[in-house]
Symmetry: C2
Subunit: 218 residues, 2 copies
Amino acid sequence: MYSLAEENYIKTIFHLQQTKSGAVSTNAIADSMDTKASSATDMVQKLADKKVLSYVKYKGAQLTEKGKKIATRIVRKHRLWEVFLVDKLGFHWDEVHEIAEQLEHIHSTELIKRLDTFLGSPAFDPHGDPIPDEHGNFIKTEKKLLSQLNKSQSGVCVGVKESSPEYLQYLDKKKISIGTKINVLGKEFFDGSMVIEVGRDQFFVSKKIADNLYVQTT
Amino acid sequence: MYSLAEENYIKTIFHLQQTKSGAVSTNAIADSMDTKASSATDMVQKLADKKVLSYVKYKGAQLTEKGKKIATRIVRKHRLWEVFLVDKLGFHWDEVHEIAEQLEHIHSTELIKRLDTFLGSPAFDPHGDPIPDEHGNFIKTEKKLLSQLNKSQSGVCVGVKESSPEYLQYLDKKKISIGTKINVLGKEFFDGSMVIEVGRDQFFVSKKIADNLYVQTT
DNA sequence: ACTATTTTTTAGTCTAGGCTAAAAAATAAC
DNA sequence: GTTATTTTTTAGCCTAGACTAAAAAATAGT
């Protein structure tokens, strides 16, 4: 059994490994956990003793298979609970992260098995992120900003970068929500603006709009 | 916000106050928490500083109104989660305590509000214990052993004392489960055996049977 | 009422996880 | 290839919460 602090470190390292490949530095860990590098070093050394990760001084840490298994179990719990909060309790998808952050540390394999069944074994969470199965396998998807797509590419909306009420209301008005398919019909290289297709509607979006919408390309 | 340890102390003191009235001793707290009296003393002093309870050296602790409010909120959460685990996830009522013990510490008033609605604002948990409302008010019920009832008294089954598979199977066979109404038709003072009525059936139960069944009298 | 026993508190220590400041290694700059 | 700078680690300290052993208060036995 791992402590709350240990689980949070493992999860953070896992997420950092997903984006930047190779070993992750203690500074990177500390930054993304809002703590100090010295604390991260201590914990990384402790987790290395427990064979959760491999650690080379001054080089960084890398989760072992054991560590990855622990991490995916936490991610699985986090995302299943998010589905519960949104689908069953009616939370909006941008309100659930903090609560899931707590729920992901509840220890009970039976609970997760039953929760998964209760929710219909969902493959994605409300933000469009894939939910690992009980063996830790999950569909690897690429999450980009809409602004990174080019003409005639398409993606499915999976989230927003900065969620102000104004922006969310704009999306609402344009009928864009999680799961909405978006086709890029044209892109202006001068200012990065685009013409996109949503359902049967076609319209213009500024770079600012496109810079704050995450899409998933399969 | 209170730490996990603080919440557990507050909850324990609350439960001890329910049974034995008056101040509760640090030893009683330590016993029921599987810790040492010195640890309990330390924590009680800390909680007294925070005005959660009043504490007189060598005399014991008593929750203040503030403390009681905190305690009932935790109890409310615990019992709502138990209803969730049994009603929605299909756990058996004697498997849920440990999990609820973890879930009761999740912090989010919105979550509890929504969970309550989702469950249909239940008044009792799967063990027959009353669930406090959002203001901390709850129906006070008396939970006794079946063997404590006398002739022509009646109660509703709310739990078992020691739950062996054999005993649970016996109850099953006799169609006794949580919520079943039991009338005591006769009681033999010599050996404590009884004749009881369950539904339309009337039958004999030994003292041993009656000693392990909790009933609630309203 | 005085001693013996039990209960409760205090004093001092330990571990987990943080932190700051200083030292050491790695990297960058000439 | 030295020196300067940045990154990372070490050393030492702090707090929460637990523990043990000793002291102090309360209770019981005569």
